[in-house]
Every structure is written in structure tokens, then in C-alpha cells.
Symmetry: C2
Subunit: 392 residues, 2 copies
């Protein structure tokens, strides 16, 4: 049963002084429960909740100090003000030591002072209750937030787990080249995508795409992209067409597909084909930045690029570049998504220079680059992807 | 500068009694800062943080009550125990009224009692500080949780926004039928998917699919499904093939595509074609439950089904059912995803009966069914999708 809310519990005999207190407090707007004997206190406390207790040291039945000790034991935060018609020093000290928060002698002569004490103690008690209630609300809120967060995190983790299946196994040897990659999504789901696949024992196809935005909405497009390139691989293998051998044709097909899909997303991409028969690297850049970094015996440089983002324009312009590899011994190629630039400081030109030095000092090994920049420890504003192709 | 942590601030002249207190407390293991005059108190409090103050009423310089009032004003939670070599009742009452938490006369004779008081007050003060620290930690934790949750929610909302684009506009008239749907995801992203499209002015294609699981990972497959069916629509329109006219062929193609995609997901589906020339509803059920509900003048019934889930088996079995519509005037068809069964109570048989009554009483209108079951107010364990086709 809910307790009745009462301001003051007055425990005192029916004297003129007590009546004055009762009348005075009522006049101040307080609700009062008045009991005369110690034996009535327990029931009063079970029936009502009080904000302050005003207890006489001298009761007709029972002892005020016993009542005080009972209250302190069972309602430790409830303030108890003691009072007496007359008292000796030791009475006051005893009351104090037993937990009284104030003591009044002959209060009828100083009702305003008693009133102030009651006000102050009620205020303190309320603050205590408020504080308790606030803490409880915080705790509950916290628990609720943790549950909601856990639910969303689990959903994202499940999504991430499924998305991981779309990526190739990093560290593969395909037709004389070592392919590896690193992917650090800013949240759980990645809007960057990478794939590499040996079409024949002599031709290898690869790409790195960076879908506009990041997170769940961009991750949708990675699924499409994987599906699309998979279809082209399939139709090439069953000799239906050889679209996949031409990076420009591939960009046009992806462009068309994205425009037809109502997702409203576009992407930038570097897409290439390494042909061992002709000893060439044929690639196209669809609005991608930074440009691919190529390293041979003469050092590292950005390859030339050009071309529009993919999925924005009905008639986009793309370029196909052919890099002859015949006279080059060892070479390496590294492609970054533009998230890498957001974790570097300085002017764009400095960042580009830094990237060139970085891939060279890390020998185009994605893991080393990630460690060098301490990427996994950072809060990333965008996904970061690195694709590396190294001639074995 | 960090304050030195000291247990007791002792403010008293150098009497034998004070020395006894100092020695006694030190023996109990307390650290003590001892100042003799009121003027030293401020600096002591700036230098150290105390857990309790022991202040003499009678100081050589300054008044103990003034020190008490200063401490209560600037360090309101710090407990102050007053003491005096001798005192009158009014001194004690004044100290009490000014905020002292205890008072001792000639403490040298009752050091254990003073010690208990100090212990008790230190304990209370510590609890107060701990409570404050705990509340602050809760508040900070709360804020952090809210930020993390907001980030994930925003990501999911963005994903949801993009996913919404894949769905047809609900409430379309296509070739003499009214198509509408409702979709209530259990989180943000849906693993249920619906589409309907007029292939020609006489042939309409539709499906409702329920992808295994729910949330982000399942939502990936809705993108694939939309893309796949879009491709079949396209190839039908450019007369490359008419696979889309056969529900069984479509299920086989979707099955194959899912098996080839490394997402590791399967789905159940009801897929149909309404042909006005032949006046037929041709449909297939891929492991979907509950079965589609068909209503004509003779009442509502579940259509016959059969067929395996899609994307699990390399050689699945699907059936094609043809329902002649020639002799039927008005008819309606409603398909639910199985999430609907999870919010209904009772045995499966009862739920099926309830569904039949529900679609009839709600006249196959998805909005009414959603309202009738109060679905938007529920915490859904799985996505719920409803597709309705009504002959106009």
C-alpha cells in the first residue's frame, strides 16, 4: 500500500507548547501527523512517509531518546529534531550522539528558529531523496542504453560478418603477383570494397571501390558490386563476352547498373587487369583519389588517372591506361581509398608526398602501412582501404 | 595543484587535552593536520583535503563558531565536530544550529567516544563522496552511451533511408489490380522484401521474400534480390528471355544466384505473375510460411504451396500453381512474412484461423491489418511484411 505523504511527524504530549508548534507549522502550510506516545511512532511511520520528525525528549509514555534511536536505525536518512521543555547539557549531547540533527529548548519562545531548522532539514532530506531518485533513473537509463546499443551493435556485427564473406582472402598469389589488402571501416560495415580474382592462369582482374558515404547504406552497394563483377567473371569464363578485360567497359557497365538501381549511391574506383601474355597493366580510374601508387626500380610515383565518378552521370568519361611491364623487373602497385587522407595532416601536396614515402618505406605491404600510421587505434571519420599488388 | 589527502583537520590550541587527542588519533592510524588559530584554517583547507574537522570552540585567536560557519559555507559536506574544555548548553545549541555534527566536552576523558564519532563522520563523508563520484561516472557513461547509440542509429537510419528506395510505392493500381504493402522492420533495416511491377499492360509480376535472420545482414540480400529481379524484368522487356513469366524458373534463378553469392543467406518467398490475357494467377512458394491467403465470394482460404527455401540446396524442388480467375469476380490475395506469427498467441492452427479472419475483416487492406494487431506499438522479434493484391 502506498504511504500517505506527510511533512512532519510530531511526537510529543499535549502541552500548550506542542499545540503552538502544531498550529504554527500548519499555518506555514505543513501537513502534520501528531502522536503522543512512543508506541504510536512505528504505526505512524508505516502509514505515512515523513520529511522530518520533531520529537520531544520527555514523553508521557516511553523515552524520546529511544524513539530517536529507533528512527535512526530504521529510517537512517530521515532527519530528527529533538526538543525539550527544559534540558541539561548531557541530554543534548546524548541526543546528538544518537543521531539527532538539531535540538530545541522551550521552542514556544523561538518558533521561527524551529521553523527554519525544520525547513532546512526538509530541504536536505528532499535533496537526498532527489539524489537517490536521480541516481536510480540514471542507472535504469544506463541499462536501457546498454541494451539498445548492444542490439544495434550485434546487428552491425552480424552485417559485418556477412559482408566479410564478400572480400577475397588477403595475401594470395595470383599469376605471379602477390595480392593483399587491409580494410578498416569507420563503423562496422564498410563502404569501401576490394576484390581480386585470377580470370585465367595469365589474366588477373582487381579493383578497389570507395562508395559515397559510409556504413550500412554504402555497404549495400558493396554487395551489388561483388555481384556485378561476379557476373562479368562468369560470363567471361563461359565465353559469353570479354567485357571484364576492358576496365573502361567495366566502369561503363557499373555506371549503368548504379544509375538503374534506386539506391542513389555512386562510387569512385580503380579497376585493373594484369595480362601476363602481353605483360601489361591495363587500368581505369573512375573519379578516384588518391591515384594508384606505382613503384619500380626508379622509385615511386602516382599513375596518371582521369575519369568521372561512377553512378552519377548517364554518359560518363573514362580513360583506359596501359602500362607496359615488359622492361620492368620488380614492381608494386598500391591503391588507397580517400579515407587515408583524412587521418593525415598538412596540405594535400604534403600528404601525397607522405603517401609516396610511406608505401616505399613499407614496401607496399598493407599491414606495415596500417601499423606505421597506427590506423586501428584511430577514430576514423571514413573507411580506409588499401590494396597492394606486388610482382613476385 | 592536487590537494594532499589528510584525514583530520584539528583546530585547537596547544593544550594537554589537544595533544592527547592528536596522539590518540595518530595511534589509530589517522593523518592529522593541526592548526592553532582561525587564520590558518583557510590555507590548511586549500592545501589539503580533509575527511573530518575537529574544532575547538575556544581558540587563542578567533572564534570556533566563526570557523565552523566558514567551513560549513565553503565545504558544506565536510563534517565538523566541535569540542570545548567546558561549555554551556547554549554553546552546544549554537554550534548545532550552525552545522556542527557533534560536540564533545573535555574529550580527553572520553577519547574512544570521540574516536567513534570521528569514524562515523568520516564514513558518512566518504559515502557522500563515493556517491558523488558514482553519479558523475554514471552521467559520463550515459553521455558516452548516448553518443555511441546515436552514431549507430544514424548509420542504420541512413541505411534504412537507402533501403526504402528499393521498395515500390505502396498503393498502386497495376493492370486492374490494387497493390499495396506494409513493412515493419524489427530494427531499422529490413530482411523482408516486397516488389511488384507491371511487365506489360496485361502481365504483372510480384513477390514477397523473407530473408533468413533480420537486420543489416539480411538487408544485403534485399539489395541483391531487387537487382536480380530488375535484371529479369529488363531482359524480358528487351525480349532476351521470358524467364520472369515462370515463377518456378525465377525461384531456380534466385536459388542459383544466392548459392553463388558468398553471403551465406537463404530466403523464403512467394512469387507470382497475374496474366490478364489468360486470366490466371500463376505462383510458386519457396518454403514460405504462412501460405498466401486468397479470398473470393466463397470466403478466405490458404492457397496450396510446397517448394523448398531458396538459396540452400543446389537442386531444389519448386512447384508452379495456376489459379484460373476467369469465373471469379472480385478476389484478393494477401501474403505475410512469418514475423506475423510471432506476435500472435495460441497454437499454430489457431493463428492460421485468426489470420484468415483478420484479412477478411480488414478486407485485405495492409494498413487495417497493421492497426488491428497494433503492430507498430510492439517490440518485434522479427520483421513483418504484408503484401496485398486486390482485384479492382
Amino acid at each position: 500500500m502506498a504511504k500517505i505523504d506527510t511533512d512532519v511527524l510530531l511526537i510529543a504530549g499535549h502541552y500548550q507548547a506542542t499545540e503552538q508548534i502544531d498550529a504554527f507549522l500548519k499555518k506555514q502550510g505543513y501537513t502534520i501527523a501528531w502522536v503522543e506516545t512512543a508506541s504510536e511512532v512505528q504505526m505512524a511511520c508505516e502509514k505515512s512517509s515523513f520529511k522530518v520528525v520533531l520529537c520531544s525528549l520527555n514523553l508521557r509514555q516511553g523515552y524520546g531518546l529511544d524513539v530517536l534511536r529507533y528512527l535512526i536505525e530504521f529510517y537512517p536518512s530521515l532527519p530528527v529534531v529533538m526538543m525539550a521543555q527544559s534540558a541539561i547539557l548531557q541530554d543534548v549531547l546524548n541526543a546528538l550522539r544518537s543521531g539527532a540533527c538539531d535540538f530545541f529548548i522551550q521552542p514556544q519562545y523561538d518558533l521561527p528558529s524551529l521553523f527554519r531548522s525544520i525547513q532546512k532539514n526538509i530541504r536536505k532530506y528532499r535533496a537526498l531523496l532527489d539524489n537517490d531518485a536521480y541516481r536510480k533513473a540514471l542507472e535504469e537509463n544506463n541499462l536501457q542504453l546498454q541494451l539498445s546499443l548492444k542490439e544495434l551493435e550485434n546487428d552491425q556485427k552480424a552485417g559485418r560478418h556477412v559482408q566479410q564473406r564478400l572480400f577475397p582472402v588477403s595475401g594470395q598469389e595470383l599469376n605471379g603477383c602477390h595480392f593483399s589488402h587491409q580494410l578498416i571501416p569507420s563503423l562496422y560495415l564498410s563502404g569501401d570494397f576490394i576484390d581480386y580474382i585470377a580470370l585465367t592462369p595469365e589474366v588477373t582482374f582487381f579493383y578497389l571501390a570507395d562508395i559515397s558515404g559510409h556504413g550500412a547504406s554504402s555497404a549495400f552497394v558493396t554487395v551489388l558490386l561483388k555481384n556485378l563483377s561476379g557476373r562479368f567473371v562468369k560470363s567471361y569464363r563461359r565465353k559469353a563476352d570479354s567485357d571484364i578485360l576492358s576496365p573502361v567497359v567495366m566502369l561503363q557497365r557499373i555506371n549503368q547498373e548504379l544509375l538503374e538501381t534506386p539506391l542513389g549511391k555512386h562510387l569512385t574506383i580503380v579497376l585493373g587487369v594484369i595480362d601476363q601474355r602481353q605483360n601489361t597493366l591495363c587500368y581505369s580510374v573512375g573519379g578516384h583519389y588518391p591515384l594508384p601508387i606505382f613503384t619500380d626500380e626508379s622509385g615511386s610515383r602516382f599513375l596518371s588517372g582521369g575519369g568521372m565518378p561512377v553512378g552519377l552521370f548517364p554518359e560518363p568519361h573514362f580513360e583506359e591506361h596501359v602500362l607496359p611491364l615488359r622492361d620492368i623487373g620488380k614492381w608494386s602497385l598500391t591503391v588507397f581509398s580517400d579515407g587515408i587522407l583524412e587521418v593525415m595532416e598538412g596540405r594535400l601536396q604534403d600528404k601525397e608526398q607522405r603517401l609516396l614515402e610511406l608505401v616505399q618505406s613499407c614496401d607496399h605491404v598493407p599491414e606495415r602501412i596500417v601499423n606505421e600510421l597506427d590506423l586501428t587505434a584511430l577514430e576514423l571519420p571514413d573507411d580506409i582501404a588499401l590494396l597492394s599488388v606486388r610482382k613476385i
